[in-house]
């Protein structure tokens, strides 16, 4: 599943494998938002050369998961209120467009796969399995993006939105089963619209989902009182 998360660049051998491992550590919560990454230490832990670790970190930095303070240390990103607002503003136009495109262009096998992921999301919610839920959530959205059949659009979505999904596991862990079930349900109208090949309904369903997701994220932020 994580291989879907980091871009195509991750296909590049050792660098890609290290990048995926660091990314998975962020998604699973082993690495926390804002945490500092030390090349030497990571190289030791992963049994890789410092050069390979450096290259993987540059890849994740350009993907927006890590951030470098000028000439200084590398940290896992942390999203402020302002960041979340900006990402959601982009999300409204860009993912909304992707949903409409998916309504007209998705292949039957993609629709079937989306339905399967939706069922996984429901099961994860019932089992209160937040990490599994988070992986299914990311899988649902990334598949939706590729079902729009525009690689350029998909690239733009990954670049702008993936940081938003990065800390989901930590986030979802603090919620009860009812919240997770509602999170899962919020995806159903979008799936139905794609099934019915109805772009107008798809956009309406997405906007309803967006309102819900944005509200959730805002309330989590005020709960955490600091960064995500």
């Amino acid at each position: 599943m994580t291989s879907d998360l980091v871009s195509d660049a991750a296909a590049n051998g050792l660098r890609g494998r290290i990048a995926r491992q660091i990314h998975e550590s962020i998604v699973s919560g082993t690495l926390k938002a804002g945490e500092r990454l030390v090349e030497r230490k990571l190289a030791k832990e992963l049994g890789a050369s410092i050069t390979a670790v450096r290259e993987a970190m540059i890849e994740l930095e350009t993907e927006g998961f890590l951030t470098k303070k000028v000439n200084f240390a590398t940290h896992v990103i942390s999203l402020s209120w302002a960041d979340v607002d900006k990402i959601f503003a982009v999300r409204r136009v860009l993912e909304g467009f992707a949903v409409q495109a998916a309504c007209s262009r998705a292949l039957q096998e993609e629709i079937d796969k989306l339905a399967g992921i939706y069922r996984q999301m429901l099961e994860a919610a019932r089992g209160r399995h937040s990490s599994r839920f988070n992986h299914a959530d990311i899988a649902f959205h990334t598949l939706l993006w590729s079902a729009a059949h525009n690689e350029c659009l998909e690239t733009a979505l990954r670049r702008a939105l993936l940081p938003l999904f990065a800390f989901g596991a930590i986030r979802a862990a603090s919620h009860d089963a009812g919240d997770l079930a509602r999170d899962a349900d919020s995806h159903l109208p979008i799936l139905e619209a794609i099934r019915n090949r109805d772009p107008q309904e798809g956009l309406r369903a997405f906007h309803a989902g967006w309102d819900y997701w944005y509200g959730r994220r805002r309330s989590e932020l005020s709960g955490a009182a600091t960064h995500v």
């Binding site: 290259e55 927006g64 000439n71 503003a89 136009v93 525009n150 350029c152 733009a156 670049r159």
Partner: protein, 227 residues
Amino acid sequence: MFERLTPNTMRTRIAQQIRQVILSNQLKQGERLIERKLATALGASLTAVREALIELESEGLIVKRANLGTYVNTMGMAEIEKIFEVRSVLEAFAVVEAARNATDEQIAALETTYLEMVDAARAQDTRTFNQRDMEWHAQVWRMSGNEYAESALRRAVLPYFAFIAIRIAAVDPMSLLRDALGHLPLLEAIKSRDAEKAQQAFASTLEGWLAITRTEFSDEGHLEARA
């Protein structure tokens, strides 16, 4: 007084140089990049060149093929149609936000870039024209004040400018001026901070650019082959 030269600034400076060479069409679409040769030409270490190439790969300017090497990306009309689809949504968003959020200094700088673009078009200086054209759009993206939109646009749309660098070198010089002047309605709308007018100006300008690109493409057949 001095900026300390760390491995990171080296990487950024090398990436900047290679980027310029691609965007000014001195490296052609599909051309292979040899890390060792680049290192020698730039007087840099192989490690620094490799790191710079990762940055350019993430920008979509180059592609790495496993065991086959690194190449300048290529772009056909099918890719361009897709890029324009993204621009119609995401750059339109940036334009509206720019009209709302831009500072006076940013607007003045945008106008300066526009005037330099027109000068370059009059002088038929295609290289400068391309640089100013790209800068102009990158400035608008930044003026949106939304760095997530900006970063997505850089990744998704910047490779397009590498493509037009090649196209523009091939077409008649009159079209340079026409392309330059095409930016004016949008500039005026942003200057008047009229978000709605900016959105309309962008939509019709973009449609015009796409129509021209389609015509040139069908007239000239395979642009990649010529480049």
